[in-house]
């Protein structure tokens, strides 16, 4: 019924000047605001030819920056998976006082600016901070090194998996788990055979978002990294650095790597969304 209505509406609007104007505006906005800058990244990256392009990418500092970003993502993703699953499971399957507050707290990194997370981190772990001096006395350094970059990236990306899982788990309710338990399944078996398979696509989707975000993170990492070349520079910091060094082609070359990662993530995300809609009726 509704399909037929929309068909007729669509037919009526075909060729309508308003429709054409809307489509043109939409396409223009996408072209101007997204495709053009995206295209520019690759255009400028390859301005000096392929040899120069790969030369920039294979420079030791740049290779290291790619490695560090992947390391940060590599730590953040499993941590986010475990954390997101535990938190979403506990908050979806049980009710207890303070539940809403806890949800807001977990989602806090989404709503506050990353730079505040960075500065807050220094407030705790910096040498002028709360724990920093004590840690320093014991020979542990938690600021301006790889550790701080990895932890801050993990904090910033921590809500993504949780956020994808929670609404789904809430919607699914606890009937299937109750059925499993009543049929004699233990807690772990229930989790791995019932709960986890039910949310696998949402989990995967959350992970792709986490991955994209951890590679793209700039503000918080800029605060805690110390920008040591070949040591604590992530991909985004390396782009910023090269850009300000006036080696702009190199900056664009590195940016094209980040863009490519993002595009691949986007493809995976689209594919997952399709799987998700196929799996859940």
């Amino acid at each position: 019924m509704s399909a037929r209505v929309s068909e007729t509406t669509r037919a009526g609007l075909r060729g309508h000047p308003g429709r054409i104007a809307l489509v043109l505006t939409g396409a223009g906005a996408v072209g101007l605001l997204i495709s053009l800058p995206l295209g520019a990244v690759f255009y400028y990256a390859l301005r000096e030819g392929w040899a120069a392009y790969f030369g920039y990418l294979l420079a030791p500092d740049t290779r290291h920056a790619i490695g560090l970003s992947l390391l940060a993502a590599g730590v953040a993703l499993p941590v986010n998976t475990v954390f997101g699953l535990c938190a979403a499971w506990a908050l979806a399957k049980f009710t207890f006082p303070g539940r809403r507050l806890l949800i807001s707290l977990i989602e806090l990194p989404l709503s506050i600016s990353p730079i505040i997370i960075g500065v807050g981190y220094l407030f705790v772990f910096g040498l002028q901070g709360v724990l920093g001096p004590w840690l320093d006395d014991h020979g542990i350094s938690m600021a301006f090194n790889v550790t701080s970059v990895v932890i801050v990236t993990t904090i910033v990306t921590s809500p993504y998996v949780f956020r994808e899982l929670l609404p789904l788990m809430l919607a699914q309710g606890t009937q299937e788990e109750q059925a499993a338990v009543s049929l004699g399944a233990g807690a772990w078996k229930t989790f791995f055979r019932v709960t986890l398979p039910n949310v696998k696509w949402a989990l995967f989707y959350g992970l792709t978002l986490s991955f994209a975000r951890s590679l793209g993170e700039f503000g918080s990492v800029a605060v805690v990294s110390g920008a040591v070349r070949g040591e604590t520079n992530t991909l985004t910091l390396q782009i910023d650095l090269l850009y300000h060094d006036q080696v702009q082609t190199a900056a664009f070359a590195v940016a094209s790597v980040l863009t490519s990662f993002a595009l691949v993530t986007l493809l995976i995300k689209t594919w997952v969304e399709r799987r998700e809609s196929v799996d859940s009726p």
Partner: protein, 335 residues
């Protein structure tokens, strides 16, 4: 809690890497990457040849105030090579750097210096020869905001010094010249590099006033569309260096850190400095680069203006000379 095993393994890895050989970190200002890439490439073999062993030098670059802040918060830099005396002083006040740091190395611990010069578009269409020409009607200037950046402060002091020199130390005349020049500034940029981009990429202004290290680099690039005008008088800008004693003592790098900074004063180090458009302290090297780094009369902030504290009060604080002059300029424009 679950984050800790991962953390510890990362820490452990970092520790093994660090113990394999000597490593120092040089925290520097944001536009010194090429300079120190060359310095490091020369120092590492020299250090090894003198029996020092394998050495790795890491670089961190950023605005020098930001770098100082990071060191206070725990960035493990063994040496600092800054472009602001205040920022080293901040580290000294917090006991990261020796109290008498300025006396630890020659020339006030500033192994090289720069002056402010004038960059014009090729052919010098406005016929600029010295600071006084910047006061002419119709000349447009790009410089750094003296309220927010050291670069801009040196520019204003240079205008004022030029006024004093031209008019026999008449402060009223120097003030008038400074005002006329400031009236011609079309963009006050936040930092040195953004000022450069405004002049070169947005093509705003007839004149860019910034460090000579920057103007010479722009003018000597292949196919450059600019040329440098070296003024008759300018203010000497120091580039102070210091060993971060607190970090170096803990890491056992005090000796190599000192050797590294000493190297900047050697003829080889001074040669690299001059090649990168900074002015060397070594007279022999300076003489060899005189064609590029043309001799200029310099005045020092301490000796000539009575130090930064006094200068800040007189020129740059809220309501001080720069504010007054800009207010007057704005008022005259309306009338």
């Amino acid at each position: 809690m679950k984050r800790f095993p991962l953390l510890l393994s990362i820490l452990g890895l970092a520790a093994t890497v660090a113990s394999a050989q000597t490593e120092i970190l040089n925290a520097s200002y944001d536009i010194s990457r090429e300079l120190f890439a060359e310095v490091n490439a020369a120092f590492i073999p020299a250090y090894k040849a003198s029996g020092g062993g394998e050495l790795t030098i890491k670089q961190s670059h950023g605005g020098s105030s930001r770098q100082a802040r990071a060191i206070l918060e725990g960035l493990k830099a063994d040496v600092v090579t800054f472009n602001q005396v205040n920022d080293v002083q901040l580290l000294a006040d917090n006991k990261f750097v020796a109290k008498d740091w300025a006396a630890r190395f020659p020339h006030g611990s500033s192994p090289y210096f720069s002056v402010h010069s004038i960059l014009v578009r090729k052919g010098n269409p406005k016929g600029i020869k010295d600071w006084a020409d910047l006061a002419k009607a119709g000349v447009t200037i790009v410089q750094v905001n003296p309220k927010t950046g050291g670069n801009g402060r040196y520019a204003v002091l240079a205008y004022y010094a030029a006024g004093l020199q031209a008019f026999n130390n008449d402060a009223a005349q120097a003030r008038a010249l400074t005002k006329k020049i400031l009236a011609n500034v079309v963009v006050f940029e936040s930092g040195g590099r953004t000022a450069t981009s405004t002049f070169t990429e947005r093509e705003i202004g007839d004149v860019l006033v910034t460090f000579e290290a920057e103007t010479l680099a722009l003018a000597s690039a292949p196919g450059s569309a600019y040329q440098v005008i070296t003024p008759s008088v300018s203010v000497l800008a120091e580039f102070p260096v210091a060993v971060v004693e607190k970090v170096a003592a803990k890491r056992g790098t005090a000796a190599v850190a000192k050797a590294y900074l000493d190297f900047l004063y050697t003829p080889q180090g001074q040669e690299i400095v001059a090649k990168n458009h900074y002015r060397p302290r070594d007279a022999g090297v300076a003489a060899r680069y005189a064609a590029k780094l043309t001799p200029v009369k310099t005045v020092e902030v301490d000796a000539f203006f009575g130090g930064w504290e006094k200068v800040t009060k007189q020129f740059f604080d809220n309501g001080a000379l720069v504010d007054t002059l800009l207010k007057e300029v704005a008022a005259e424009r309306i009338n």
